[in-house]
């Protein structure tokens, strides 16, 4: 059954005038955490300084690929203020492990992926610019920098390779002995025979080659880590910029440093953005923690921005060929996709999952394509490791599908909206089993499409096109309809697919004696506004004031456990865990209320913070019940324990499936090739909305990143595998004036398998938007015979396309 709710988010959603009355589910409560963020009073990792702290600088490779002949640290060790210098030799003496990979893929032939050692400090070879080689620890950061310049590394250069096609070519430079031909795995999904049969009888096959461009995440806060060791207790503490402190504790403790959980505390305080790049366990975290133990003093490392470009996991970088078989009417018969996925030099924590189970499984998209076959070859290159970045695999499959759809429309003459509508999974087909493993529980793609067309005034485009022409501008409109899978994820399912972890979430709810509440969540907020959204959720469900609820996250010594925040999972999985914990609170409260009001538990009802006895005017507030639980003078002590605190672990039954429609309208200055985004309309189905203002902000942020990928951002390596766009001088981050007003609306179908009906909103903006932008750009270039543009659609590229044939330069 599909439940439908509709909401246009007002642009003045920040107005709090009504919030004094209502701050529960559905209210645009202002983010309570923002006061400290915007007034400079946040507590980020680099704000933390520990007594007797030393400072680490990582000496990194400036070579893409080289044998290390020697590392001479003598001069550096003699430099002023130097405390210690460590290389792989020191790590090996302590038998430290490498950076582990959290997901194992098996190839078509059943063999496990090539999983070469990912050393904490390079041993024998360096494999990308930025590969850590040595750590220099000194009294001050300045002294550590001075000494690092004196570390003399002799290299024997090897040929570097940056593109996947070059890396798998015969005779290519070999990066790991364990990965012949630089192939990590060669995986597939779907029914090849069925697809081949459909292709054989197809009216037409439309083929498109496309690249999904490589991106540098560039969170506002660069990574940082402080390791600390207490020689009395033997306890280690790591302060780190992480989206998931418990995962870091598990990965670093169990696989790298061999420390049991009770000896290791991981704190992720305020974190300034992650976008996936702060999910992973990084070498620097292990370095500072281990060195703190060696030196018996804290060791701090803060990443420079330039260093971040060559040490934070990058995103995307897929090279795909897509083919759709269609019948005479444009109905999709079968889809075949072949992707080369760049893994970079080593496997980052979740890298193998991104092009496979997070991307190829979404190739049905919002369409009822009956047969799909996809193969993914993951390839090592001499580049920074690539891993999940906002959307993680779903933007890649969405870009592929939605570009392919427009090319089919172009080549068949079938209107692009009609083509989408006729191939949509119909609203009565849910739950819908796709040919590529996923089962969508709910959705209504027709409604999000219709609503977006109306909001964007699709019908009025011809008039706007004429006005643009009159002032000498090219104008185009583009559409993208998408579904994604998030709220990750059912542990049993992902375990079967290769995950080496469960993906449940944990909530602990502590009702204090006078009725205020502290919520301990295993998710982590690094910009998402959890302290507000979760407080609204708990206040609403327990019927207490919003200001009486505090959210605690980011400390393994405070939170029972947690898998963290990524994959738009915090509300769908973490929020549902809170609901389950609250259910336990209410169940216990009913027993206490029944005792106090001398009624049977079955007759107690709970609503709006009050326990009542059915059919009477007897009432006890949750505050009274809490006080009774902590002052149990008159209490059913033989039946239940004192106190009012409950913990719940929640493992979801399925992924959640947000979807929607994005429409972009652009103008192009034909003289210069500059694209201006004039309008952007997003209508998304993210399930039930707790805070419309925060949802709007999340979607706008995602769209900004999507527009960034479509038009601006690009991590460019040259053929020798040097990073060309290694700073903001060459890497085009979107700025406010690059972006249009982004109009956001929601059309809601509820998730059917979690208590709140929520789906997740963190990634939809970045998933739906890139193809809408590129489709608009291609539409604007309709008179120039343009079929496809790889991202980013820079002025240079567009000018080349406009002038193709007129000038002796190749357009990409």
């Amino acid at each position: 059954m599909t439940v439908r709710l509709s909401c246009r988010i007002a642009t003045d959603a920040g107005d709090t005038s009504v919030n004094a009355v209502f701050q529960g589910i559905g209210a645009s409560v202002r983010r309570k955490e923002d006061l400290r963020f915007i007034s400079g009073r946040g507590n980020y990792t680099d704000d933390i300084n520990r007594p007797n702290q030393s400072h680490a600088i990582i000496k990194r490779s400036d070579r893409p690929h080289a044998r290390i002949v020697s590392i001479d640290t003598n001069a550096a060790k003699a430099a002023p203020g130097v405390v210690a210098i460590y290389t792989h030799v020191d790590l090996e003496a302590d038998a430290l492990g490498g950076v582990p990979c959290g997901w194992q893929i098996h190839s078509k032939d059943g063999s496990p992926m090539a999983e070469p050692m990912h050393p904490i400090l390079a041993s024998g070879k360096v494999r990308h610019v930025g590969d850590p080689v040595a750590v220099v620890i000194a009294e001050t950061k300045q002294q550590a920098k001075d000494a690092a310049e004196l570390v003399a590394i002799e290299y024997d250069d090897l040929t570097g390779v940056s593109s996947v096609r070059d890396a798998i070519a015969p005779g290519a430079s070999q990066i790991h002995a364990e990965a012949p031909g630089n192939v990590c795995f060669d995986w597939h999904i779907g029914d090849k025979e069925l697809v081949d049969a459909a292709f054989a009888r197809a009216h037409k096959v439309v083929k498109l080659d496309l690249l999904n461009s490589r991106l540098v995440p560039n969170a506002m806060e660069t990574r940082a880590a402080i390791g600390e060791y207490d020689s009395m207790s033997g306890d280690y503490t790591l302060y780190t910029t992480s989206q998931n402190p418990h995962v870091i504790r598990l990965l670093m403790g169990a696989f790298v440093l061999h420390l049991p959980e009770h000896r290791l505390r991981v704190v992720a305080p305020d974190v300034g953005g992650g976008f996936g790049s702060k999910i992973y366990h990084y070498a620097e975290e292990a370095i500072v923690t281990w060195s703190a133990g060696k030196l018996k003093r804290p060791v701090k490392w803060t990443c420079d921005r330039s260093e971040a470009f060559v040490s934070d996991a990058h995103g995307r970088d897929h090279d795909s060929v897509a083919e759709m078989a269609i019948d005479q009417k444009g109905n999709f018969l079968a889809l075949k996709v072949s992707t080369l996925a760049n893994m970079g030099a080593y496997l980052s924590t979740f890298a193998p999952a991104v092009p496979t189970y997070l991307s190829a499984t979404l190739l049905a998209g919002v369409y009822k394509t009956p047969a799909i076959y996809a193969e993914v070859k993951a390839v090592f290159t001499n580049t920074v490791p690539v891993d999940a970045y906002r959307g993680a695999g779903r933007p890649e499959s969405t870009f592929l599908l939605e570009r392919l759809l427009d090319v089919i429309s172009q080549e068949t003459g079938i209107d692009r909206v009609t083509l989408r509508l006729q191939n949509f999974i119909p609203v009565d087909a849910f739950p819908y089993q796709t040919p590529v493993a996923l089962q969508y529980d709910s959705g209504d793609y027709q409604t999000t499409l219709t609503s977006a067309l109306k909001a964007a005034d699709w019908e009025g485009f011809e008039g706007r096109l004429a006005s643009a022409k009159a002032k000498g501008k090219l104008r185009g409109i583009g559409i993208s309809t998408y579904v994604e899978a998030c709220g990750i994820a059912p542990s049993k399912l992902v375990g079967a697919l290769g995950a080496r972890a469960g993906l449940f979430e944990v909530a602990q709810i502590r009702v204090h004696p006078t009725g205020s509440v502290t919520v301990f969540t295993g998710t982590h907020s690094h910009g998402q506004g959890h302290e507000t959204t979760f407080a609204q959720l708990v206040a609403d469900q327990l019927g207490i004031p919003f200001n009486n609820v505090d959210i605690v996250h980011g400390d393994t010594n405070k939170i029972p456990f947690g898998m963290g925040t990524y994959g738009s999972r915090s509300l769908a999985v973490g929020g549902t865990a809170m609901v389950k914990a609250m259910d336990k609170i209410i169940a216990k409260g009913k027993k206490i209320a029944a005792h106090l009001m001398e009624a049977s538990v079955e007759d107690i009802e709970f609503a709006n913070g009050n326990f009542t006895v059915t059919g009477t005017d007897k009432v006890k507030t949750i505050g009274e019940i809490a006080l009774t639980a902590y002052v149990p003078h008159n209490y059913p002590i033989e039946e239940i324990e004192p106190g009012l605190e409950e913990t719940a672990f929640y493992d979801p039954a399925n992924f959640t499936f947000p979807g929607g429609c994005h429409i972009c309208e652009v103008e192009i200055d034909a003289d210069t090739g500059v694209v201006s985004v004039i309008n952007f309309t997003a209508v998304d189905d993210v399930g039930r909305v707790i805070n419309p203002m925060i949802v709007e902000g999340q979607i706008q942020g995602g769209v900004a990143q999507g527009i960034g990928q479509a038009l601006l951002e690009h991590a460019v390596y040259d053929d020798e595998a040097q990073l060309v766009s290694g700073s903001f001088m060459d890497y085009t981050m979107p700025r406010a004036d690059d972006l249009p007003n982004i109009s956001v609306g929601t059309e809601t179908t509820l998730c059917t398998h979690n208590a709140l009906g929520v789906k997740g909103c963190g990634e939809v903006g970045a998933i739906g938007s890139p193809p809408a932008v590129i489709n608009a750009v291609v539409d604007a270039l309709r008179d120039y015979g343009v079929r496809h543009i790889n991202m980013p659609a820079t002025p240079l590229k567009i000018w080349g396309l406009i002038n193709a044939g007129k000038l002796p330069m190749a357009a990409e």
């Binding site: 920098k145 003289d671 690009h714 001088m729 000038l807």
Partner: protein, 263 residues
């Protein structure tokens, strides 16, 4: 950055003496290029001489010229009512350099001493035929710019002011590098009593240069149509991930026409 000594003299003579007496000494104007260079450890000066207290900031408009002190910030030039009235193109150029932070620290003297091939000011100085005054002499714009990051300044010579003749008409059009927002191609067009001068920044491997063919065409007829058929050879122009030499050559034409229209 590396450690260095820091001095903030109050007289030009003292600044010059300090610069002369220390090898690897450096003058600090607004620091918008120099400080990032220091932070990246690309320069290791012995002494940094801050020019902020030398009294070199200020704007003086006469009937024939706008004279700007070397330590005047881009923000001050861009926001000056007098400059906006006398040479609006110059004020506009200054108001579009970098961002707010850069404009409120960066100075015209610092920009000209550095002569970054993507900087905006060199285009105005060259197109308007400005005169650069230093602690010891005056230098004509045509003699001043000598290739990227290279000028006629001698070791330890300080720019003190720049005098811009007031043109009949002028405009600056900049095509920004999408990432850095420096000029990828910037064209300053000025109609002066002696003829039209056109200076291009951002495009050439040799830094700012005059476009003789456009100057001839525009001196004959100051209209965008006059340069419609003027093409710029791509030889010697910069080529990078943002723009090929051919694209830059094309943009020079587009920006020049727009500048003429705006002038």
């Amino acid at each position: 950055m590396y450690d260095f000594a820091y001095e903030k003299p109050t007289a030009i003579a003292a600044a010059l003496a300090t610069l002369k007496s220390h090898a690897d000494s450096k003058a600090l104007a607004g620091g918008q290029t120099f400080i990032p260079v220091l932070k990246q450890r690309l320069n290791k000066p012995s002494v940094v001489v801050d020019l902020a207290k030398l009294g070199l900031a200020g704007i003086n408009v006469t009937p024939n010229a706008v004279v700007i002190g070397a330590m005047t910030t881009h923000g001050a030039v861009g926001g000056s009512a007098e400059v906006n009235k006398a040479i609006p193109a110059l004020a506009h150029l200054a108001s579009m350099i970098g961002d707010w932070q850069v404009r409120h620290r960066g100075t015209i003297g610092g920009s000209l001493a550095n002569n970054d091939p993507s900087a905006c000011y060199p285009a105005a100085v060259l197109a308007l035929g400005a005169t650069i005054t230093t602690d010891r002499r005056t230098i004509l714009a045509d003699d001043y710019f000598q290739g990227m990051f290279t000028t006629a300044l001698e070791e330890g010579e300080l720019v003190t002011s720049i005098s811009f003749p007031i043109p009949e008409r002028a405009a600056y059009m900049k095509f920004r590098n999408p990432a850095s927002r420096y000029a990828m191609v910037g064209v300053f067009v000025a109609k002066l009593p002696a003829g039209v001068r056109v200076a291009i920044t951002g495009a050439s491997q040799g830094g700012v240069f005059r476009h003789a063919q456009m100057e001839r065409a525009l001196s004959a007829n100051f209209a965008a149509s006059a340069i419609a058929d003027v093409t710029t050879p791509a030889d010697g122009l910069n080529s990078d991930i943002h723009a090929s030499a051919e694209y830059r050559a094309h943009l020079i034409g587009v920006m020049a026409k727009r500048a003429v229209e705006a002038a």
